[in-house]
Homo-oligomer: 345 residues x 4
């Protein structure tokens, strides 16, 4: 951290800044130029609050360390993290993992039929929500525990891994029993109590970017999980809020190469929420793979017209099959391969 | 709800839309123009999903009812809600309620000294967080239960009411014991499990707008609380995320008259988070009152230089006193008055 | 400017940065801390490009001078600029200037009737566009030169000053002949050719903030005008683009105190475009004055229902009269006064 | 256009809306449901202003036609437009056109060397600005007419086509003499005077999306050019303004498939401005091709360290060569091919 002082700052004010840094446990190192001075903050910076320093008289600006996250930072681990998933799958290395399925678990028939369709097309993980966070209290809120049971059944029938969302600490335990990957949704990216709770488990966590979250904030939310002891974090770009209502969100694909530059964690892309429109999903799924995504999370429904939520952004099974062929081709062109369904027992 | 069909839509496709509406429990009423038709959806629309309809072939657009919130809507209650707070205070009527204090409870001395200062200047509610949601896991996370005890002490010593944040369902009970008003922070505006939990209490709830929340979404989050049975909701504008880093947030004061137009619920303003800069707080606090805010939430610290969080946006006690004079004057000019500290026992 | 180097940067790379700074005409001053070094850039920094430096290996970050604008900066002039307008009016000092009128000049009758109404209510400047930038080529584009003639007539009949928009260099001359204040609209805030052209005139310029412009960028656009020799710049906050379609723009009132902190130039507020909704205009006009605005720009139409553009955000004359009473009261409370119509000949 | 009335709107108010529509030249068709009515607007809607209608009492909402643009709309032309460029190149069909080169023309040597490098790697169009719109008046503003001469020379020496920016009507003629494709930059997307002027030429125009422009607004700006008679418009996604400063802009690649859905015009992508960071450009260039872009606009500099502008986002020639191999492969995978340099004389 570097504290930039105004040109010609009074020595008394400088001294006050030095004192404040020491009070917060840092070691201040003055640096002097012709017109302007600065103070480098060394030592234990964990308690040094940049906003507090910024408010001191004489301080013009604070240069925070670029990366307030530590365990999530590229520098902390020499190689990209390759997470092991059940069934011999990996994510973050050569393999690209395809997670597909309906927005919500609606019924045994719907879930099984869609699961079979996505498995046939090459997906290895089934996505479907049992607990659904909905903007309106009057919308369908998911089948809850009943939905979890259906997920468990379908897993045993199809061999697909399960990714499903945990909405709160209270229902985390039953979700964690069924899920191979626990999803933390966008709305909960800054629910730190929930992040700490999944951080104490030893299960892969799929952490979705919040609607208005910077990449630094996404990585700091990952840091909450990592710092509790769970290293199995997969990030997910799913679009951020923008000003143009012609798409549901702004699908910020630059996040993919940016996260790969800043962090060792794997990152996948969700073009269904990123665009909110079935017609745009295949193009953006291809783009995500070309940008280097470690996987895809895609909504597919055997009858999107009848879906209880997000029908408009769900692919028909045939569209998903066609897309998968492109995904295979682009992946192999980039020296990667789609994780094979054959690996699933 | 109105379903707009493409010009020249095939009758077969129209029929399919009619069927879909009926399947979801609505009563479709076709409306025909020269070039274009539409379908009005009457009857029980609670299960009619606009996104599902939008995805049907032939459908050009869906006009949702302007107000998906019901209990929060102006139409549901003829008069603005005037909430009764302990000590004879009210909010939402003629009185303007001033809530002030430090960002976080740091120590008995800090809390008491600041509390006395804000009370002397005319505040009636003390704000201070015992549980602090922080972007980084390495930042000061609040004193927790210990902080709650200090709040209870200061209340009994000063008579000030207490507003303090509940971060999760697990710690809601101890927070609710101490708080006169339970704060739901921006990050938790879409934590529906927490909203439902405070909805089952019978205490005033201060619901802060999320960083990327529309006003409709803010009112839908209020609806989660109201629909569980707790009618005591106070909304709070505290800035939304924007593209200009010269202020911490974009303080969207138009939300004040807009909420008053759409809803009967009271709304207050938090210029401290709205701007993130002590130098801008007084001007924006005055502006909030002039825009019709039902109260203010302001960070004040007896020694902002030493604050453990948000020091840069905290007012010095003298600044707060000066501001309060302007607030009184603008309020009376608009036919309102600042809720008096004398009312507090 | 300060160039922050990565910890442990190779001396060879540091040397390359020093060379690059010298090549661009700056004088580099190395500053050394324990773990990390930095280079302060002194001397002539006009050609030192921060983006070029940032791209050099070893460079972690660049701290640009907070204020790339110079003539617009508070530091360059000790006191707030008080511009003299014709008729003895001033803006930027004690007086608050009210500019009101229809969005567009539509006809002699409409213009005169509205002009009389706003004058009666206390406005001293008439706003109305002869040239109208419209998002669609098929919308009403203004009366053009014919509209300018009507403005000149109404000025001589009412004594009101005229503020009207110049859309391009080609029509700047006729606009400048009629206008007492030349408006540069939001869309043209970054039309540098036009800014330079008005910078060569000696007339007051009302520069509106662009839809996605930061305050720094607004002040840099002012700098284009100032640096050509025209010191008569009035800034205008009129809302920026946001994600919530419930208002036309996000009316960013914090810009008012922020500009007053960073610059000596006056700034006014346009609540009509800021909100896009007549029902929100009075509250936000009051708020703007309370925040310290040096004036208001408000759309008023004698028959808003029939307006050819922006009818929905135009006040009825009676609403405007009522609002003016509040504006007077808040102004005097803050030690200011509304510039009086009596001053106009 | 459809005017939605409030439930239970008084017949007198309805009648007033009908009259207003007729006054503006539209033909109103009332549509009645059980609880709610609407008015369909037929006939000549060119003068019917939705904002004016929205402001009338009794009106709840206005459903504008989804596509206010006409000539740019997919419906107006049955097939995608395939523009012919000089040298036998086409854009918008099977061929993908690569435009590359430095941000600005700096010198004969720089331009020629970079031009040769990008040609060798497979680009067919050279990009470089002679007139540079810069945020600060103190930044390098381009070589102007001198730069145009250098562009003409390099074209005759290399056979590359030239795309270069026109900043204003005054300098449009000399730019149009040299340019094979006239670029309208982001800042000028809403400079309607300039759009109309290029609309009267018969040269291809590259229209870049504005920083805060919706896709509808981008297409309406294209409409300004088309409606003046110039059908040769190429759109360009180059990122929009967002809240995360970790990239220069939010590169909104969904715009590619969305424009292809809404319009017949070709659209290319500019990952250099989209990301602002050389390290992210190759991944996002690949992604753009995978999303269906009809071309790329990429900054390449033979010595990015020494570039006078945008050095940090310019590729080294070797990086560009490597990228071109991936571009070829992804293009062919999608049934397209990179327009060949051999076609250039």
């Amino acid at each position: 951290m570097l504290v930039i002082l105004h040109p010609g700052t009074d020595p008394e004010l400088s001294a006050r800044v030095l004192t404040a840094i020491e009070q917060m446990g840092g070691r201040p190192v003055p640096m002097t130029g012709y017109n302007r001075s600065a103070i480098l903050v060394e030592g234990d910076r964990s308690r040094v609050d940049p906003r507090r320093l910024r408010a001191l008289p004489g301080v013009e600006d604070i240069i925070s360390d670029a990366k307030p996250f530590r365990r999530a930072a590229r520098e902390s681990v020499s190689e990209p993290t390759v997470l092991k998933l059940p069934g011999g799958l990996t994510i973050g290395g050569e393999e690209i993992v395809i997670m597909a399925g309906p927005c919500a678990v609606e019924s045994a028939g719907q879930l099984l039929e869609t699961a079979r369709a996505v498995r046939a097309a090459g997906a290895t993980v089934l996505r479907a929500g049992a607990f659904k966070p909905r903007t309106s209290p009057y919308s369908f809120q998911g089948l809850g525990v009943e939905g979890l049971k259906l997920l468990a059944q379908v897993r045993s029938e199809t061999g697909l891994l399960i990714v499903t969302e945990a909405m709160d600490v209270e229902t985390l335990e039953p979700v964690a029993e069924v899920a191979d990957i626990i999803q933390i949704g966008s709305r909960n990216m800054v629910n730190y109590s929930l992040l700490k709770a999944v951080g104490r488990l030893n299960k892969p966590v799929l952490l979705k970017r919040g609607m208005a979250a910077t990449i630094t904030e996404l990585l700091l939310s990952a840091e909450y999980i990592l710092s509790e002891g769970n290293p199995n974090v997969i990030l997910c770009e799913r679009g951020v809020r923008g000003f143009d209502s012609s798409t549901r969100n702004v699908f910020d694909l630059s996040a993919i190469p940016l996260v790969h530059q800043l962090s060792h964690l794997p990152i996948i892309a969700d073009p269904s929420h990123g665009t909110g429109d079935r017609h745009l999903v295949p193009a953006m799924a291809r783009a995500a793979i070309a940008a280097g995504a470690d996987g895809l999370l895609i909504e597919v429904h055997h009858q999107p017209d009848l879906a209880l939520s997000d029908g408009g952004q769900s692919l028909f099974p045939e569209q998903f099959s066609t897309l998968m062929r492109d995904v295979h081709a682009i992946a192999s062109l980039l020296g990667r391969r789609v994780a094979a369904a054959e690996l699933v027992p």
